[in-house]
Every structure is written in C-alpha cells, then in structure tokens.
C-alpha cells in the first residue's frame, strides 16, 4: 500500500461514516417526536451529509480514476463500504437514535479536532469547518442523554436499553490498521489512542450524570475496516442506490 492508496482508504472511511449516518437520520425527517426536534435532527443530518459529500469528492480526487462523489456513494457494493457498524444500526426509538448519535458526536468532536492539525490541507480544512457543526451536535445529543436519563422512568429505561444495545459497536471507531500506521507517520492521520481516552472520559461522565449504567462488554464487534458489516448495510444501500443503478449514466 502506498500513501495515495492509504489516503483514499482513510478518506473513504470518514466519508462513509457520514453518508450512512445521515441516511439513517434522514428517515426521521417528517416523523420526529415534535416539530422543533424534527427540524433540529434534519439540520444535523444535513451537516453530516455535507461533510460526507466533501470527503467523497476528495476521495475521488485522491484515487485519481475519475470517480465522482456520486459514483462513490451510489455505485459501490456492500463490501466496499468502510463506515463503522455503529452508524448503520437502525434508528429504533428516539433514545436509540440519540445514543447512537451521542457516541458518534463525541468521537467526531475529538477526532476532527485532532484532524484539523493534519498535514493534509484538504482534510484539515474539512475538519476545521466540521468542528463548528459538531460542537453543536454534541450539545444537542448530550442534552437529550441527560433529559432521557433524568426525565421519566420510561425515558431512563429506554436510554439504558439503547446504550446496552449499541455499546458493543463503539469500540470499532478507534481501530487502527496499516492505513493509519502509514498516514500517522506522514502526519496526516489521527492517533486513535488519544481520541479513545478522551471519548471514554466524556461518555462515561455523561452516562454517570444521566444515571445510566455503563455496560460491561467483553467483546467489541469488529470488521468494518475490512468492509465487513452487519446485515443492515445491504438494505441501506439497496434503498439509497437503486435509482442511479436502474438508469445508469443519467444526470440528476
């Protein structure tokens, strides 16, 4: 693997996280628990999709084979996606959507803060721009974590169930492979060790504050760095990609 291949793979991984998460979030639009929250969540989905679009565009440039952001989003198969299994988990109830979002938002906050210092100017630029949005996202999902934990018995139980369900998918976010090793040497990629420490601290703090028990999970799920996913991804792609595949080569 050379630097260009590593950078392509790394950028794609970040892009896919946003693409798949925003696809999940977008399913809430028009169906949120109340109007103001419907608007807020759609706004967050739009931010995340915007970040993913910029990253996919850059991934296409890095690859140098003339693939556009749409080619990369709509014409890759299940085993060519590198998003974490966490972001492809179903929306469930609002507690599950919020817990998934909070785990990702806290990760993104620490990750992109570090990535803003990358020697790759494009990635650093996208990161710096994204941080402003992510700061708001963490505040949004974090405040709902506290509301659910400290709200009613029902909301607390729903949040606890969501955290229990999702916890085993959180470890994958921090995995590093040969791509990271190569790019860390170049000053491009972020060392996940520090991100994990910051994530653990912040997430466990908020779980404590919300009176939610932190799950003890012996085995974290893994595989997405090799394009291995849960069964959910195939359905997400089938829905998302069908039209450009039915009329190949069309402009929209």
């Amino acid at each position: 693997m050379n630097k260009q291949e590593a950078l392509f793979s790394y950028t794609l991984r970040l892009a896919d996280n946003g693409l798949i998460l925003s696809q999940r979030l977008a399913a809430w639009t028009g169906h949120g628990p109340f109007l103001e929250e419907d608007l807020a969540l759609t706004n967050i989905a739009l931010d995340i999709l915007g970040q993913a679009k910029s990253l996919l565009e850059y991934a296409g440039q890095v690859e140098g084979k003339g693939r556009s952001e749409d080619d990369l989003a709509f014409l890759r198969g299940e085993r060519e996606f590198y998003n974490t299994q966490l972001v492809e988990q179903p929306n469930g109830d609002y507690a599950k959507t919020i817990a998934r979002q909070y785990f990702v938002d806290v990760f993104d906050f620490h990750f992109y803060t570090a990535l803003a210092n990358s020697k790759d100017e494009t990635l650093a630029g996208i990161a710096a721009k994204s941080i402003k949005e992510i700061t708001y996202h963490v505040r949004h999902s974090g405040s709902w974590m506290l509301r659910f934990g400290g709200g009613t018995e029902e909301s607390k139980q729903r949040l606890q169930d969501a955290v229990n369900d999702l916890w085993r998918y959180t470890g994958e976010q921090f995995e590093m492979n040969e791509v990271d090793a190569l790019l860390i040497k170049e000053g491009i990629a972020v060392d996940m060790t520090a991100v994990k420490a910051a994530w653990d601290k912040q997430v466990i703090n908020i779980l404590n504050e919300a009176s939610i028990t932190t799950p003890l999970v012996a085995v974290m799920q893994t595989g997405s760095r090799q394009g291995k996913h849960t069964e959910h991804l195939g359905y997400i792609l089938a829905e998302m990609q069908y039209l450009p595949r039915v009329i190949p080569g069309a402009k929209w």
């Binding site: 399913a27 628990p33 989003a73 400290g150």
Partner: protein, 308 residues
C-alpha cells in the same frame, strides 16, 4: 369597534394581535392559518418519502433542506395562529382527529423521483400564487410569516423546475418519467386553488376582510398562463386537450378539473388521506414519552435551581 376595524381595513392597515377584531374574522383566520400550517407539515411526508432514495448527493441535500424549510413554515404559521388565542395542542388535536383540513394535494402519492420535481415546479408554483397574494393579507403576523415563506418557496420552485429539467433533457427513461409525473400532477395542482368562484363558500367574506385579495379562478388562470410556456420549453405535454391560447382574453383557455375527484379527496377518500394522517398520529404518539421526558427533566432542573 366594528367601524374602527372596517376603517382600518379600508386604509389597508394591518390588524395586529391586540387589536379588536370581529369574532368571525378571528375564527376564519385561525382556521385558515392552522390549515395552512398543517399543509406544510403534511406536505413534508410525500416529499420526505424520497429523501432516502434521492439519486444524487446534491439532490438529497436539496430535498432534505426543502422538507426542513416546509417544517419551518409550519412552525411560524403555528406561531401566527397562537397570536389569535389558540394553542399548538388545540390545532394539532384538530388535525389528528380529522377535524382540521389541509391542502388536498398532499393526499396524492409520490410514486417516482419525477414526482419530487413536479411537486416543486407545479405544487410550489401554485402555492406561490396564493402566498404572494397573502403577503398583503390584512392580519399582520400572517402577512409577515408569508413574506418569509414566499422567499423560500420561490427558491423551492426553481429547484423543482431544475430537477424536472434534468429529467426532461435527460435519457428517454427520465423524460418518460417526467411526462408520467406531469400527467398525474397537472389536474390535482389546478384543484389546489379551490372550487370555482361561484362554488367557494368562504371566499367572498375573506375577500371583504382583505384576508384574500384575489379569487380562486383568478389565481388558477394566472398559474396556467405562467406554466404552459415552461412545459413547452421542457418539451412536455400538458394533459389537457382543451388547452389553447385565447387571443381575445390574452389568456389560456383550459379544461375543467374533475371536481368529483376533488370532493372525494377533500372528504377523506383520496389515495393517501389515511396514510398521511396515520403517519402524523404515529409520530405524535411515539413522541409522547420524549416530550414527557423533556418536561419532567425541565421541572426537576427548575426545582434544583429554585432550591439553590
């Protein structure tokens, strides 16, 4: 009081929330503004139906932002209705129990991606005709909400037209998809302006109160005049054999919509009336515990604050 009110209307001055107003004027406005708000909220559903299947990233972003704007319009219209002494709970309850109406157009299904373009081009185009007029409506908060809404709606209409352009000038499959969508949306769009003037029970009084300033038929005619040349440019055929330019009137003559279908859809028997309402009720009911949690948490926080 009534004289003062009439004089104010006569001078084209706005009526404001604290002003005296006739009960029926207030009732008419609550009904119209809340129906308008409901239309925005229900309107999120047929368009939202395609967000997860939008065929390009840009199209997906544009559509999400658009549906979000519709929700925003609903929000400021609910707020405008609240200035007349009603509450969000009351108006939502009227919607969920089927007492309140909303624009019938949203009871039609969005079957293909081309429908999303059609909704922007035709449905928003028709809505704008009405909304431009309502910017000069006599009730201040409604008028100001409409000014804001109009800016965004004309943007949506341009985006819808652009989306239809991609299809009309695209592959043969895309063009066929656009024509099929136009065939299905044309007549329901014309019905959006409401019954003909001689059959519109609320119109005359609304015009007298300067809530409405133009009649259903005037607005419908203006819409047809504007849209025909756009369809010609796109190479799409408007599905009306009676459509032709009338030199004398300097306007297009056009056929009669199927008013029986209109009556059926308004009465709740359109293709998606049940699904649309069911989706709103489901979202509201499933959101109940979320709203309850937020309220309970806010109360606890206040107690802690006042104890400190």
């Amino acid at each position: 009081m009534e004289e003062w009110f009439d004089a104010k209307l006569q001078k084209n001055e706005m009526i404001e929330p604290k002003d005296w107003m006739p009960d029926n004027y207030r009732k008419h406005l609550i009904r119209q503004i809340s129906q308008h708000a409901h239309s925005e909220i229900i309107g999120m559903l047929p368009e939202g139906n395609w967000i997860t299947r939008a065929p390009s990233l840009r199209a997906k972003i544009v559509l999400m932002a658009k549906v979000q704007d519709e929700g925003g319009h609903g929000l400021y219209l609910y707020t405008a209705a609240e200035t007349l002494g009603t509450s969000r709970e009351e108006v939502l309850d009227a919607l969920h129990t089927g007492k309140a109406k909303y624009s019938s157009i949203f009871n039609y299904p969005t079957l293909t991606w081309a429908d999303i373009g059609m909704v922007g081009w035709l449905v928003d185009g028709a809505a704008i005709m009405n909304q431009v007029m309502l910017q000069r409506t006599s009730y201040g908060p409604y008028s100001r909400a409409m000014v804001r809404i109009c800016k965004e709606e004309s943007f949506h209409q341009r985006q819808g037209y652009e989306s239809v352009c991609h299809l009309a000038f695209g592959t043969p499959e895309q063009k066929a998809m656009a024509q099929d969508a136009l065939n299905r949306w044309w007549w329901p769009t014309l019905m959006m302006f409401g019954p003909t003037d001689d059959k519109s029970p609320n119109s005359a009084q609304a015009i007298k109160w300067k809530i409405k300033r133009e009649s259903n038929d005037q607005l419908r005619q203006r819409f047809v005049n504007q849209t025909v040349s756009q369809a010609e440019y796109l190479g799409l055929t408007i599905p009306d054999p009676d459509l032709k330019w009338n030199e004398e009137r300097q306007a297009y003559d056009f056929g009669t919509p199927n008013w029986d279908e209109f009556a059926a859809v308004v009465a709740g028997n359109g293709p998606c009336n049940k699904e649309r309402l069911a989706a709103r009720v489901k979202a509201h009911n499933e959101g109940e515990w979320v709203r309850a949690a937020a309220t309970a948490y806010a109360l606890k926080k206040n107690e802690v604050m006042s104890a400190a």
